[in-house]
Amino acid sequence: MELEVAGQRVYAYTGTRAFSATKPTVLFVHGAAQDHGVFALQSRYFAWHGRNAVAVDLPAHGRSGGDALPQVEALADWLHGVLDALGIREADVVGHSMGALAALEYAARHPERVRRLALLGPAAPMPVSDDLLDAARRNDHVAYELINSWSFAAGSQLGGNRQPGLWMLGNAMRLIERTRPGVLYTDLAACNSYANGNAAAARVRCPTLVVIGARDIMAPPRNAKAMIAALADVRTVTLPETGHSLMAERPDEVLDELRSFLITPAT
């Protein structure tokens, strides 16, 4: 479906189901230099199980227009605009990586709009190495290669995809390569400069699920500890032998955690 947020066209994948304002909504927010497709399996499940699944393309990503937003706080405000554009009062919000930071900040700023919050691969702070930032600033392909080499656990570097016939590393690389020039740097800089994670966590009022990859190098588990401690109502799941690309490396486990968190309570 297409929306208009802040005067810009926004694409959102809905699992080939029509959006209905009468159904509960799960909003999926992707990470840096990604698009809605990283949630294809998980969002499609919710779309076919009584929910609206709305997997957005962030500004300047995928099929959405506009410019990439330079701060996590701006992304949070943008998510607020998405819910307004959808005409819904609240949603469950699922974010990955940079999208998790945006979801966290949004839940802190607008607790009345977030029913449940799921953070996949979050860290606060989420520092980005100078080498990676420099390469991204130059739109150097090395930046893509660094991200790919850091985003998958050692086992996943050799494949073994749950989705038959798909080579995870190649797919991830091609998705980053499609990102418009400058967008990766803007995204990484937004992650690197975000300093409000722990304070935001303390202001979150809804139940929160945190899913962490035990072998995550992009967002190391140790960097999420303080944020998790600040969340009032949190369930933390650590997936063994998993890196930062949780939805690709462990699609079933991620889906099962989301199902039990978002559907089983039947609230």
Binding site: G37, L132, Q157, L158, G159
Partner: protein, 435 residues
């Protein structure tokens, strides 16, 4: 920059990509999952598998764990995003075409093709409303002039069969993209060890895995690989490929290009092409091809070394009129080959005898180590007479245009001791010269 990206090299991927020790048994080799179907843990899980909400296997026509390892491995070696294993190389070519084209569509193809591919394009597909214009692969203007409003695909072989015309993949790909079209290449003769066509701009690659990938002449199989690079949803493109960019009633109105920015082609190819046409690979076949790929780098190096030795011998032989091998300075694509194929130009090539058709027959029948059969890329050396076998359906004019004469002999050089191969060829050439 002090930080270097880490990634596995080609040889390591040849052995490991896509495979992990079997979690149930610890088996190090990839198990042969010889089963038609897979048990669902519950009804919700079953429905999720059918509806692409979960990854996994349902029925071995659609996917199979052994085949999936092969698919990942070849995708990794090619630098693609994924692959589909098929019943044969011909099935892979057919799958690529029918995923993108419908009746009323048009292909521009190199005319230097394997006879079976030529047959499919020239005689069979027109019956289904898909036309092909054949062009000299070296003539970029001919490629350009042949593109029509209804053209949907450009196609060629990395090394033409049997003349070893080197496809100028970068220039043909650039031309295709200039017109909003994808380039499909048959990379059977080169394998990813000699050339990775995606790095030169090709969008789709297929192999007859029967040949060098499996390498031992024991299976029939194919693989179709997607680079994930072609933007099916680009403004000047999306209307040309409605199979990927419009709702598909055969799968709950899924729009494949929305489902996945990078993987739309493979999704449609598996969800429609493999499902409905059914030309899937058997798991035993996938296992045997995987065994072959494990030694692809070392085999290809030896194939190339042996081919060079044989070419050097034939080049000096008085009964040999011409050798079509791009490493030779007199081959029209010599310079291009040096750029695109720095590791070598493969181990299949043709040469012409100075003699009659009868002398050609005597040559083939005098060989002892070389096997006279319709295949290439075996560990054993092979020989055939294309005009009367692999390319026999082509007209005399088409044969001439494809560089195939009455005296043309095609060799596939295997892994034997090169001195033994030279001795075998020398004896057969002598016998032919006296016939």
């Amino acid at each position: 920059m002090t930080t270097k990206p880490k990634s596995h090299g080609f040889d390591t991927l040849s052995l490991h990509a896509g495979a992990r020790p079997d979690p149930a048994t610890g088996a190090r080799a990839t198990p042969i999952y010889q089963t038609s179907s897979f048990v669902f843990p519950d009804t919700d899980y079953a429905a999720a598998l059918f509806n692409m909400e979960r990854g996994g296997h349902v029925y071995s026509r659609l996917s199979n764990p052994t085949c999936a390892v092969l698919e990942e491995r070849i995708a990794a070696l090619e630098g693609g995003i994924g692959a589909i294993a098929t019943a044969s190389g011909q099935a892979a070519l057919h799958l690529a075409i029918v995923t993108l084209l419908s009746a009323g569509s048009h292909i521009v193809s190199s005319r230097s093709l394997y006879g079976g591919s030529h047959n499919l394009l020239d005689y069979t597909l027109p019956r289904f409303g898909i036309e092909t214009t054949f062009v000299d692969p070296r003539d970029l203007d001919a490629w350009r002039d042949a593109i029509r409003p209804d053209t949907r695909l450009l196609f060629g072989e990395t090394l033409g069969n049997p003349g070893l015309e080197v496809l100028d993949v970068p220039r043909v790909a650039a031309l295709a993209h200039e017109h909003g079209l994808p380039l499909l290449v048959d990379s059977t003769f080169t394998t990813p060890w000699l050339m990775r066509p995606f790095e030169h701009g090709a969008d789709l690659v297929f192999h007859s895995a029967t040949k060098f990938l499996s390498g031992h002449g024991v299976v029939i199989g194919g693989v179709l690989v997607d680079s994930g690079q072609f933007d099916w949803n680009a403004a000047n493109v999306r209307e040309r490929f409605p199979t990927l960019t419009t709702p598909y009633a055969g799968f709950h109105d899924m729009v494949f290009a929305e489902e996945s920015t990078t993987g739309a082609f493979l999704l449609r190819a598996r969800r429609e092409g493999v499902r409905d046409f059914g030309a899937c690979m058997a798991p035993m076949t996938a296992f045997q091809i995987l065994q072959g790929i494990e030694t692809l780098p070392v085999r290809m190096a030896r194939h190339i070394d042996n081919a060079r030795a044989i070419v050097a011998f034939l080049r000096e032989h008085p009964f040999v009129a011409r050798i079509a091998y791009p490493e030779l300075p007199d081959h029209p694509d010599h310079v291009l080959a040096q750029r695109l194929l720095p590791r070598g130009c493969g181990a299949v090539f043709s040469f012409d005898l100075r003699g009659t058709r009868e002398q050609g027959r005597r040559f083939i029948e005098s060989l002892r180590l070389f096997s006279h059969l319709a295949n290439v890329g075996d560990a054993k050396s092979l020989v055939i007479h294309p005009a009367s076998t692999t390319h026999f359906r082509m007209s005399a004019d088409d044969l001439a245009r494809a560089g195939i004469g009455e005296g043309t002999i095609r060799l596939s050089i295997g892994l034997e001791d090169p001195a033994d191969l030279v001795e075998d060829l020398g004896r057969a050439l002598y016998a032919a010269s006296k016939a």
